[in-house]
Symmetry: C2
Subunit: 245 residues, 2 copies
DNA sequence: TTAGACTATTTTGCATTCATTTTTTGTCAT
DNA sequence: ATGACAAAAAATGAATGCAAAATAGTCTAA
């Protein structure tokens, strides 16, 4: 349909040294960040209404900038805006989660591939450090510490990909998933946990060899397995207390 | 009541690429769609200011809903909002383009992998049809037709991935790139063109065999090569009629 | 003539206001 | 007591108003 785009004749060559203007610190962005964190951190129950008035008071602003922020959050997929019925925290169906995990898998897969092109020995060493640290948590059954370091490892790989666009998108999708507490009974699934450790070793190995294509595969599978474990947890969530509002 | 929007001549796009699954028809969403298309179609020169007032008149609305839409477009990366200095169509540096292409490569790579898990024989047949159609365009040196069909092939693969989240993200990034005219002298690079055809054959082959991991690799490489060709074009734009049609 | 400074106009950011729509509340009849 | 209906209250979507900032424009001085 829109393939017939009238050519405007605007020259394509970029004005070379466009050393991007870095302005920031607008009040509106401040609101956006705070609100996004507020939602991602899970301060609002799943599917609950997000009353504008209340948030306005909480943030000490009028409705206009708040509503702008809400539109953005809706575009990001964190909340949904029902016409005339206000904003609700987006309720993720199981299918939504599966899709999100798969997209994350794709992004991490890409990150691994790109990382192999540009990662330095020092960065690999740093990741190895994290890996051993994580192994320690694993041995001590310290799930919280484990997940924390695990996340840092994945973020390090994304960072090594040298792609800000990817990094941003990754952060966005990660935020969407973060609302969901799925790590809870990971501790009980010792088998999956051990498997994850082995996968991480394979990741490190491929990273050391800069085997991009291979790492890409491994990362995808790793995330796929994570997805399976997470969904399993959700479908049989018998008794444990991480569903913290 | 300002509910009647004067038609400005800007075509209201159908629920385009947006992974539409929700009920909407809010006036604001309408504005968002129109404005997004307006920008993606390249109606505003690169880096040019986008005066609110003017757009308001063009769309026949007040500034409030327009500004909301602008915030969203900024979040999508199509425009940038300079504090107190209004909105500009985002100027993509060469690095930005490289990053975007790589992210697209990652998404298509993922799409290929997922497609292999779920694609039906009928869908493959349809893609084969498109492939032959595209081959015809190739033989006739019909670049426009070629690109059109090429895009439909890629979209078909994304659709076959059965992942609305991926589809939406894909559409988003595709929109960002679409502003850039890079296809122009592709016709002259006969070598690259032929190469692209071969890659597409490899894609089809892997798809038929449902070789997900393999297809993932091929798709990434295919997009990587596309990126190289595109960037090459941008860096050496020595006089050719990119603005001809 | 040009550079600089000062003023006027425009533009932006946010608050406030207004008209609907939705939701709640209150009353009444069955 | 329960359900239905109506009115009140609240919330939402959009327009307008206003102060601050930026841009354009003009005038002066070197």
């Amino acid at each position: 349909m829109k393939s017939t785009i009238p050519d405007t004749g605007v020259p394509i060559a970029p004005p070379a040294g466009n050393g991007g203007d870095r302005q920031e610190a607008s009040l509106h962005d401040e609101i956006l960040l705070r609100l996004r964190d507020y939602v991602v951190e899970g301060n609002i129950p799943n599917g609950a209404r997000v009353p504008e008035r209340q948030l306005c008071e909480m943030l000490g602003i009028s409705r206009t900038p708040l509503r702008e922020a809400l539109k953005v959050l809706a575009a990001e997929g964190l909340i949904e805006l029902l016409p005339n019925r206000g904003a609700r925290v987006r309720q993720l169906s199981q299918r939504d989660l599966e899709e999100l995990f798969d997209v994350m898998a794709g992004l991490e897969s890409l990150a691994g591939r790109l990382a192999c092109e540009a990662i330095t020995d020092e960065e690999i060493t740093a990741i190895e450090q994290l890996h051993y640290e994580m192994y320690g948590h694993y041995l001590h059954r310290d799930m919280h510490g484990y997940f924390q370091v695990n996340q840092r490892i994945h973020e390090s790989i994304v960072a090594a990909a040298r792609n800000e666009t990817l990094k941003t998108a990754y952060g966005n999708f990660a935020g969407r998933i973060r609302r969901v507490r799925y790590s809870a009974n990971f501790a009980r699934k010792r088998q999956r946990w051990a498997e994850a450790m082995r996968e991480h070793e394979a990741i490190l190995d491929a990273l050391r060899r800069r085997a991009g294509s291979e790492l890409s595969d491994i990362m995808f599978q790793h995330l796929r397995n994570k997805r399976t474990a997470a969904i399993e947890h959700l479908t049989e969530p018998q008794g444990d207390a991480t569903a913290s509002p």
